[in-house]
Amino acid sequence: MSKHLPILIITIPLLTAFMMPIAARVGIRFRNVLMLMAILAINIMLLSLIPEVALNFGTIFYTVGAPNPLAINPEGLAFPIRIILKIDGFSLFMGLISGTVALVAFLYSWKFIKEDGKKTYYFILMLLMLVGMIGLEFTNDLFNFFVFMEILSISCAALVAYETEEKHPPYAGYKYMLISAIATSFLLLGIGLLYAQYGSFNMDYIHNEMNHSLLDKMALIFMLIPLAMKAGAIPMHMWVPDTYSEAPAPVTAMLVTASQASLYGVFRLSFSLFGNPISSISINYNSLGWVIIILGVLSMFVGVAMALVQHDIKRLMAFHAVSQTGYMLLGVGVGIAVYAAGDKGAAFESFGKVAMIGGIFHIMNHAFYKGLLFLTSGVIVRRFGTRNLDKMIGLAHRDTFTAVAFIIGALAIAGIPPFNGFASKLLIYESVYKFSPLLSIIAMFVSVLTLASFVKVFYSAFLGPRRDDLIHNTEPISAGMKIGMGILCVLVVLMGLFPEVVIDVLVEPAIAGLVTIR
């Protein structure tokens, strides 16, 4: 059975989602428990892959529908003909992030979302969103990647517009869907250009056959720009605050992970599909690294600059999400640039790899602390009935737990020790300084601005006199919400205290999955 694990991780939640309406007929509690069991099962299956994939630096293949799941090519052929799932370190790393955040978001929304007829649909969409993320992280087939991208973006769009009676959410959902439809259309065009030349959709096969013709470069542009757009990198970031701020809080926490799934696409394509580590690394590949670096620095700076002037707590956090995406792009971009610069041995080993470790590690850290912050923002917004920071005061008297969680998240995002943001940001500063001191200084400066803006939020929302007349909603925080936030707090602190464990167990295999592709 263990050889079927890759497909089971995708199909079990799918089957649960299809059975959900019937389960809701049986009983609300039954439905919730079924959902919890499905998400737990995914997480357990993902964890059970760690020994083989992460500790042994292995790669698991699964050929869907073939006589033998482990055989990639049919007998006597040099190319695959079926859809192949491939789990390497990076896929597993991203899958674990998605699974954990989905678990937390589900626990949080157990009581947070009001129990009306829509809630069953909400859970179905949440499960399918998880399927979409894990599917696109596990697949090794370009068209399958596109299909899972569609699943992901449609479920995200519908969840963004969950509160349909409100004024803005449907338009936010429309915007997200528009961005996704444009992105997936051009992604498909790029896939078509690759298919026209190589007659296949398998990433490994195309990567080995790639001759870097003009059409390949066109395909690269048609595929990378939409994915960067969906990840929320700079010139195309305007949808991020609009959609993040309208979605319910647990959905926003998952939307961060969904954007990172697109970021996964960017990295996967630029390394595993278009990267050519074998011989003559062309100048273009180096410039790809620089493009990613510039995108990253711009995202960092513009995101934080826009965040400083916000008065809407969720928009502020959304702009910080753009800004933090910049760190990941910067780290990995420096990695690519160093890797492509020629002497892979010394320079890459000394700081290029460290930059990549920082960038990749930051993905996980960001998913956790930004998820935590968005979850606390859910409590704050529900308490005051508004998102406007100027109308909030003194929540720390009432919700001490939320206040502590917010402090942990805010310190982590600003890169203060001993939280996890510090661990990855330190790696990025150190290694980028060796590459180009200016970039590193910009990164540190952005961190300071981030801290400033979160101090502002903490000051307005939590400090000050107790004002019960401003409190809109007094119902206590449910156990599920506390458990959800508690899990993330513990993870943020633990990963800050023992970063080297996470790096050894998860991040190093992820780098190995990206860089050493034959």
Binding site: F18, G65, R82, P170, L215
Partner: protein, 280 residues
């Protein structure tokens, strides 16, 4: 902003036009796509096969037993994509149900517009309603034919389901489905879930080998596993193993899914009309 959009436009246009100059003329590369097949059923030298499509054209019939190679690609070689695509449809149906949930739930059901004596809709002329009465069974039968014969002739789950759903659209337009929309909706949604569950169940049935493997092909004629003559033939319904079943499941899912989308959007329109007092 204007400048940026102009720039991106020129970029895209330039790229596309450069692209078509670099693309091969239609029909040049991607293998030699000749279908050489011995009458004995053995494939000619496998080394001739140099692309994925060549492999499908030459071995598809032998491996899956399906005459329609497109169907064998859709349901066998790339069946996982089809599963994802079916879940996209399920997803959209769920999303639309969720989004329109407050609007669709009515205090009272919409008015039954049918004449109590004849059973025909009242706000349409007799030509439309009689025409629908005649056309709908034919459309349904044609759709069902497409679904069932998906592995022999053009057609399959998607196409048949879409054709049948256009029958639903006809029913809606000529006001046959006006009353008991909730019941219609619930029934449709049940069958939609059922279709998908059957699809995944059939996928799991093959997990002794792999998920979605065509374990019935070329086994025995009783289980749709008839071994067919390779090359052009006249087609046998009981061939292709799992394909007809998968096609049936997808056809069910697509028909009911598309119908739900139509019914709920139409329901919204009808309710708006009702609120404005346009229905007596």
């Amino acid at each position: 902003m204007k400048i940026a959009s102009f720039l991106s436009l020129f970029l895209i246009a330039g790229f596309l036009f450069v692209g078509i100059n670099r693309l091969h003329p239609v029909g040049q590369p991607l293998g030699n796509q000749n279908v050489f097949i011995d009458r004995t059923g053995e494939l000619t030298d496998i080394t001739y096969v140099d692309t994925m499509d060549d492999y499908y054209l030459r071995n598809g019939q032998r491996e899956t037993g399906s005459n329609n190679i497109v169907a064998s690609v859709v349901f066998d070689y790339r069946g996982f994509d089809t599963m994802g695509e079916a879940s996209v449809l399920f997803l959209v149906v769920t999303s639309i149900s969720m989004l329109l949930y407050p609007s669709i739930r009515l205090k009272r059901d919409t008015v039954d517009l049918r004449d109590p004596r004849t059973g025909f809709p009242m706000d349409m002329t007799r030509i439309v309603s009689n025409g629908t009465y005649l056309m709908f069974p034919l459309i349904l039968a044609f759709g069902a034919y497409l679904v069932i014969h998906g592995h022999l002739s053009p057609g399959g789950g998607f196409q048949g389901g879409a054709v049948m759903a256009s029958g639903t659209a006809l029913l809606i337009i000529s006001s046959y489905i006006t009353s008991h929309l909730h019941r219609t909706y619930n029934i449709f949604s049940f069958f939609e879930s059922l279709g998908l569950t059957i699809f995944i169940g059939l996928g799991f049935a093959g997990i002794g080998v792999t998920f979605l493997s065509n374990f019935l092909a070329n086994t025995s004629p009783a289980f749709f596993g008839r071994v067919i003559d390779l090359g052009p033939n006249s087609g046998y319904l009981n061939s292709a193993g799992l394909l007809p079943f998968l096609s049936l499941a997808i056809g069910m899912e697509v028909f009911f899914g598309l119908s739900i989308i139509l019914v709920s959007m139409f329901h919204l329109a009808r309710k708006e009309k009702d609120e404005k007092g346009m229905i007596k």
